[in-house]
Amino acid sequence: MKQPKVTAASYLGKKRLVQSGVLALIAGIYAIGCYILQFDTIQGTLSIPKAFAWLAINFMPTQSSMSYLPQIMEKLFDTVLMSIASVVVAAVIAIFFAILGSKVTGINKFMQVLVRGIASFFRNIPLVAWAMILLFSFKQSNFTGFLALLLMTIGFLIRAFMEIIEDEAGEAMMALKATGASYFQVIFQAVIPQIIPSLISWILYMIENNVRDATLVGILTGTGIGFIFDIYYKSFRFDAAGMTVLSIIVVVIGLETLSNQIRKVIL
């Protein structure tokens, strides 16, 4: 069989054709999307500086908005505690399921498929749906916010932990299995010690993430920092709302820096 001759010119020409095709496709999707959603890109871009000018005038915390600070700090503290609690409880549940369901430590094929299905289901139900359903049964309380975050986090962490186990624990497991160790000895002496740094790294990431998500849950369920922002925002106390946003920025960046430092030590 004769191979078609590939010259530099034909190769580059084909490459260029494919690239322009992909670019045209993306541009086309963008244009159609803009048309359907009636989003004017130029107008939208121009409104960004205007929006920031508006923000600088209205959202800037003033001397008087300092009086809101204790209230904001209290709610923010609650929210951080709630995110930590939801992630830790979710992690305990998720590690159990991840060991049952991962390809290397899983018991059988059926369990693997089942765990993957459960994780995907929990992960993909919108946070809004969780928040609203739980609000209906558990009323407006911190517990509702905690449950909504917990259920969402379980789905994420099962998937993450399963991938960690499959990537990192294989060799140590083999080594211990070869010595004739039992299943539980393998899990507790090889798998868990091997994956614990990555596990903690993921837990720290989820805590950061949940502080942000707790804002959304808070707006919907009337708890924590989201609720207080919503109150200020809807009663046009924009300086207090701005103060809330500033506090969130400080806390989230603080958490991020702290977890990066911890990661540097443990990894």
Binding site: I84, M132, L216, V245
Partner: protein, 287 residues
């Protein structure tokens, strides 16, 4: 003559005297293990404190769980399209998907340019540090707050939603892309530099082709996140789409059959997005 004077045998019997000083250590204590223990213990203590001090507003747990089970039953076992009907919901779903796609495209294009400027191996350190700090601040503000802030500044509607979602996307993708760019083998960049290539030639002929697989996979992860965020923004900021329908049915008309229907629609879309992402990743990794 072989003398037998030396009393020492050539091979001495190995001694198994136990020396307490020379125990084999099973668990090494390093800074890493100390840190892991400290973090684990403090996280558990915080969780314990939070759970025991959690405000439940005196809701009776047994009743609440029973109610929740009833709601689940209505949602997942008896879903129907309710008062809105399939076509209205499909249209709303389409709006949310488009919001997700548009904001991902904006995020990817702007994110790539910012990432190029922010990467340590391509530009000088000052630019990089500046962009990274700015992006960290943008990322720290939750998407929903960006959307709410823009909805007062430019008015409620798709424009506010798109701008709000795009801000977070750009910041997230800038970080993800610039980490991929910094992992590039410096030899590739040097090889083009010695031929006298211009900055953007290096970017598009060396950097871009090398990082395409991780670029594609990060972009699709962001697409999934953006779709979820589009649903959330629709609900909490009234920006339209399936999220708004979800909010109305579950918070105002309490039609949980319809909530279940909407949830199934959303799950189908996310599964399709995940499927495409996996296939694309396989395609690029296979090359």
């Amino acid at each position: 003559m072989i003398s037998n004077e030396g009393t020492k045998p050539i091979v001495s019997k190995p001694s198994f005297q136990k020396d307490p000083q020379q125990k084999i250590k099973l668990h090494k204590t390093t800074a890493s293990t100390w840190m892991i223990q400290a973090v684990t213990i403090s996280l558990i203590l915080i969780t314990f404190y939070t759970l025991t001090h959690l405000n439940t507003e005196n809701v009776k747990m047994a009743d609440a769980f029973k109610g929740l089970m009833m709601t689940f039953n209505q949602m997942f076992l008896q879903p129907n399209a309710g008062a809105d009907g399939f076509w209205v919901l499909l249209e709303a779903l389409g709006v949310s998907v488009l919001l997700g796609i548009l904001t991902t495209i904006i995020g990817a294009v702007l994110g790539f340019f910012f990432a190029v400027i922010a990467s340590r191996n391509l530009t000088n350190a000052y630019w990089g540090a500046g962009i990274r700090a700015l992006m960290a601040v943008v990322r720290a503000i939750p998407t929903i707050l960006w959307a709410l802030i823009f909805s007062i500044a430019v008015g409620l509607g798709p424009t506010a939603a798109i701008l709000g979602l795009s801000f977070h996307s750009v910041a997230y993708l800038t970080k993800a892309y610039s980490e991929s760019i910094e992992e590039i083998d410096p030899a590739i960049i040097d090889a083009l530099k010695v031929t006298g290539c211009k900055f953007w030639t290096i970017v598009f002929q060396a950097v871009w082709p090398t990082i395409i697989p991780s670029l594609v996979s990060w972009t699709f992860i962001r697409l999934e996140i953006n779709f979820a965020n589009a649903v959330a923004v629709g609900a909490a900021a009234g920006a339209g789409g399936i999220g708004y329908q979800l909010f109305v049915t579950s918070g105002l008309s309490f039609d949980f059959h319809e909530v279940g229907y909407i949830v199934y629609m959303v799950i189908i879309v996310t599964l399709i997005l995940e499927f495409i992402a996996v296939k694309l990743r396989q395609h690029y990794l296979g090359k």
